[in-house]
Amino acid sequence: MSDRFTLISIALRNLLRRPLRTIILVAALSLMVAALVFALSFVMRVNASIQLTSERLGADLLIVPAGSRGAAEDILVENRARSFSMDRSFIDKIRKVDGIDKVSYQTYLVTLTGMCCSVPESMVVAFNQETDFIVTPWLKNKLGRKLQRGEAIVGSESAYNISLGLVNVEGKLFGNVFRMVGVLDKTGSGLDTAVFISDDNINDIIQNSKADIKRDHISVIFAKIKKGANAYTIMSEIENNIIEVDVVMRKDIGKSLLNTLGDISKIFYLTMVLATALSLFLASAGCASLLNERKREVGIMRALGAKEKHILRLFLFEVLALGTVGSIIGIMAGTMLSLVLAKSFSILKNLPVELGMGSRTIIAAAGLLFGTGICALGALSPIRRLKKLEPLFVIKQE
C-alpha cells in the first residue's frame, strides 16, 4: 500500500468534491482577472504608443497651424489621415528663433479613393529631403539613396493596405503616376501608414488634381533645439511672436489623446476598484461557506493532531489552487478580449504599438497576483477563525 499522502491531495479532493461550486468560484474570479487584464492592456498600449511616437519623432518641437494640434497628434499617434496647412514663410521665422538648431517640414495630403488616386485612403507625406531628419534615417536604411521625382516609398502598414508587398509597381496619387520604389521597415509610429514622396512633387500634384493644399503651404514644422537650450522658453517665444501657430513639445505629444482617454481610464480604474472589492467579498463569502460546512472535518483533523499551520496550509492550498486556475483562465480571456475587442475601439485600432511579450508577461503576472492574492486575502480571516477554534467545540457544533 502506498505511503504517499499530503495535504495537497486533501485540498484537491475537496475542490473536486463540489465541482459546481468550484466552477462558479473559478468563473467569478476569471471574469475579474479578465477585466483587469483587458483594462491594463488598454492603458499600457495607449501609453506605449504615445511614448514610442515621442521617442522616434526625432524633433524637440512640433509647430502646427493654430488649432491643429489634435489633428497632428491624430496623424502621429493614431495614424489617422488628416490634412491641414500653414504658410511656408513660418519656416524661416522659426529658424530665426534663439535656441533653434535644425528645422524641417512636411506637407500632409489625404488621398481619396477613386477620385484622384488608385490607392485606398491614406496619408501622403511630402518631405524636404535636404532638411529632413524624421523620415530620412529610415529611408537611408532601406533605399540607400534619395527619392527621385515621381517616386514614392510606402510605410509598412500602407504597403499591406495597398497590397503592394512588391516594389516597382505604379500607383496614381492626385492625378500623378508614382513608382513605388520600396517599403519602409516597421517603425512602430505614424510613419507606418503613410506614403512618402519628395516635396519636389507638390507643384505637380497641385497642378494635376484637386488636392486640398495651396501652393507654398506646408502642414508641420519640426524643430530640434540646441544643446542646453530651454524648450519651454523657446516654445513661449514662438507662441508669443507667431500667433498663427501652436507648438507641441515632444514630451507633451499625446496629451490630448491621454485627456480623451482619461475618463475611459478612470472608468476602468473605478471598475477595477469595485471589482476588487466585490471579488474580496465573494472570496470571503465563498471561503466562509466552504470552511463553515467543513468545521467538523477541521475539528477531526485537529483532534488527530493537525497543527494550526496544517489547517492554514490545507485551506490556503485550496484557495490558491482556485485562484491560480481562475487567474490563468482570466488572463487568457482578458488577452483574447484585448486582441479581438480592441479592434472595435477606434482609438486602439489605429495605435502604432502592439503589446510585446514583455508587456503581456507583466500584465499576466499582475493578473495572477491579483487573482491569487484576492483569494488568499478573502480566505485568511475565515481560516484564522477556524484554526483557533477548540476541536471539541467544533465537533460538537455539528
Binding site: 505511503d3 483532534a303 493532531g305 477548540e390
Partner: protein, 226 residues
C-alpha cells in the same frame, strides 16, 4: 509516575446565564497499560472527560498531567503533537473524511506527524490494521460506500496508526453487531496486552465494561470508582 493524572479538573459550559459543570472537580490517576471503562448516564460527562484527557478541550480549572507534564500548559503546536503522537481517538460519531478513501483516512494522522510520518512503512501498517479489523478488501473504498459498522472499524484502525500510548474510545462499538463487537474487544485487548497501550473506553454496554480491569462511573460530572 502515573501515565495520566487529573487533579481537581472542572469543565464548565455556559448555557445562557446558567453554568453547567460537565466535569466537576474530577481527580483520577491512570497507570500505563491500564484498560479502563467509563460508564454513566447520557450527559454525565463521560465524553467531556475523555476530551479533556485527549487535549481537545480546555479544563475550566485543575490540571491534567501526561507523564508528569501539564498538557494544557503546552503551546498550541506541542499540544497538537501530544494529540498526534501520544493519543489515538475513536469518536462517538462517524469521523472519517468523506473525500478520502479508507487508505487515505488511515494515513491522515501520519500527515500531521513529524516523527511517525510517511515513508516509514505507514502504508504497510495501514494495510495490516485494516486486515486486523476485517476490512482488507475495502482499502480504496470511500466512506459513503461503507456501512456504519464498517466506517466505525476504519476509525478504530486509524486510532492505532501513530503507535499511540493511550487510546481514548468513545462508545467504539456502538454501531457494531454483537459478533463484530466481540472481535473488536479482542482486538483492543490484544493491543493493550501486547503493545502496552492504555485504553480508556466510554461505553453504555455493561457487559463490555465488565471485561475491563477497572471501571469508573460518572454521575453529574463527578467520578465514582467502582
Amino acid at each position: 509516575m502515573p501515565q495520566i493524572a487529573l487533579h481537581n479538573v472542572t469543565k464548565t459550559y455556559k448555557l445562557g446565564s446558567q453554568s453547567i459543570h460537565a466535569v466537576n472537580n474530577a481527580t483520577l490517576v491512570i497507570e500505563k497499560g491500564e484498560f479502563i471503562s467509563i460508564v454513566g448516564h447520557s450527559g454525565s460527562g463521560k465524553t467531556t472527560l475523555l476530551s479533556l484527557i485527549g487535549g481537545i478541550t480546555n479544563p475550566s480549572s485543575g490540571t491534567i498531567l501526561f507523564e508528569d507534564k501539564d498538557i494544557f500548559s503546552l503551546e498550541s503546536d506541542l499540544l497538537s503533537e501530544y494529540r498526534c503522537e501520544k493519543v489515538g481517538f475513536m469518536f462517538q460519531f462517524a469521523s472519517l473524511l468523506p473525500m478520502l478513501t479508507v487508505r487515505e483516512n488511515l494515513l491522515l494522522p501520519t500527515a500531521f506527524s513529524a516523527t511517525k510520518g510517511q515513508g516509514g512503512g505507514a502504508g504497510q501498517k495501514a494495510a495490516a490494521l485494516l486486515g486486523m479489523v476485517g476490512l482488507a478488501d475495502k482499502v480504496e473504498a470511500y466512506p459513503s460506500q461503507l456501512s456504519g459498522g464498517q466506517q466505525r472499524r476504519v476509525a478504530i484502525a486509524r486510532a492505532f496508526m501513530n503507535y499511540p500510548a493511550v487510546v481514548l474510545a468513545d462508545e467504539p462499538t456502538g454501531d457494531l453487531d454483537e459478533e463484530t463487537e466481540m472481535d473488536m474487544m479482542d482486538f483492543f485487548k490484544t493491543m493493550n496486552r501486547t503493545h502496552g497501550v492504555t485504553f480508556i473506553m466510554v461505553t453504555h454496554n455493561t457487559d463490555l465494561a465488565k471485561q475491563t480491569a477497572r471501571q469508573i462511573r460518572m454521575h453529574q460530572g463527578s467520578i465514582q470508582e467502582k
